[in-house]
Symmetry: C2
Subunit: 245 residues, 2 copies
Amino acid sequence: MAKPFIRKLENFTRFSDAERKLLAESAGQGVRQLGAREDIIREGDGPRHVNLVLEGWACRYKQLQDGRRQIIAFFVPGDLCDPHIFILRKMDHGIATLTPVTLARITQERIETMRAASPRIADALAWDMLLTASIQREWTVSLGQRSATERLAHLFLELLLRLRAVGLTEDASYDLPITQADLADTLGLSSVHVNRTLQELRASGQITWKGRRLTIHNPPALMALALFDPAYLHLDREGAHLDAS
Amino acid sequence: MAKPFIRKLENFTRFSDAERKLLAESAGQGVRQLGAREDIIREGDGPRHVNLVLEGWACRYKQLQDGRRQIIAFFVPGDLCDPHIFILRKMDHGIATLTPVTLARITQERIETMRAASPRIADALAWDMLLTASIQREWTVSLGQRSATERLAHLFLELLLRLRAVGLTEDASYDLPITQADLADTLGLSSVHVNRTLQELRASGQITWKGRRLTIHNPPALMALALFDPAYLHLDREGAHLDAS
DNA sequence: CGGCTCCTTGAGCCCAGTCAAAGTCCGTGG
DNA sequence: CCACGGACTTTGACTGGGCTCAAGGAGCCG
């Protein structure tokens, strides 16, 4: 259950057994099951816990007064929602499930305890926050500069690398359990246009997406198409020098 | 010199005199002058300092291989670039000046010293990071959902509130020392379209922008137009309960 | 006063949006 | 096992916001 979380952080640094135990215990706190399309926190709520996704997909989103919705981030297994969030009184955005989700709700104190117990964990959590911020910046670039085809391709590649980092891929293929409408709200496109763009990618042999399974047939080629540079995901074990010996 | 920085953080919490002194000293470290359109850090560089803008405007940006450029964030006086950045080995984006800039370069140790010396400063720095992240999310929403007019109006309002928070406005007017091309790279529009959209806003009496001075004639009206909700800026002294007595 | 850089304007085009209607898939209950 | 209903996907026709290319105007600095 706690595996994706620990596995994600171990892309930054390796932990000792004691640290792994500490992290696994946290990931077992306040476990809850949710259905698809349920709110986890609503905009305006006061944050109570740090949520950790154990299984399923969720998203951060923001809704304008007139109903337009933008998905701001995806949460896949192993993703943590803002370990510092308590400093803000009110959520400025909502978090909702996309599929049925299992999550852990970790208390603020627990986070502090872990940070105090292990500087390596503190650094790993900081790294996680920086990674989240980096992804957010890349989405800004996509929405500002990339065409529909590039955006879609870029997102598929980002998810491939993120899911690979937590062991949820097979070669260049993974479960993508979301709808085209969700993709539209993510990419700032209409669902009709997402559909047409998907068909282009399929027709040109770049991808297959059948059932929930997405396969990227030639990742380097798709990377070239999407102007994808994986550096922003910081998944190359930069924290290796901190590893527990 | 250090005023905008301290003033910004005091939107979250009030400091004791000792804390103010500590912050002011940090803001005096490694002060450097830069011209307009100079790089502060390039993508791929290893971060050496935390940069604090004392005067002038700078931006975070990212450039695609084919030359398209997206401005990801603005730095105005009082803004700090990523106090945790050292955890990452390589910058995944660049930071450059837009106007001549005075900045302080604060060492990692100095940041740690301040955090250790005052939990209130530690919280204020964490608040600053969360605010930065929140602004990034709102830009994602703008690029994904808002029309050209809405984006422009939204940005002008955001800058009004951010500059007001550091005392750089007069009523609803402030210095906006950037070009229309910069705005285009920020808003994901062409400079031609930015120009036409600006003319619309001028013609409808919403704004004046002459010399470097931008004036918003009726902020509430513009807020309605842009679907602007100031909550995301977290400038309502949420940390008041932490104030130094 | 010459030469930047930046702003403005016009014309034509295209990417992506909207609206509307089928088609497909899948889970549920009879 | 099949029929039904709802959610999701696909398709067509048309529209429009924003882009490109290109040229001219304005302001500012040396």
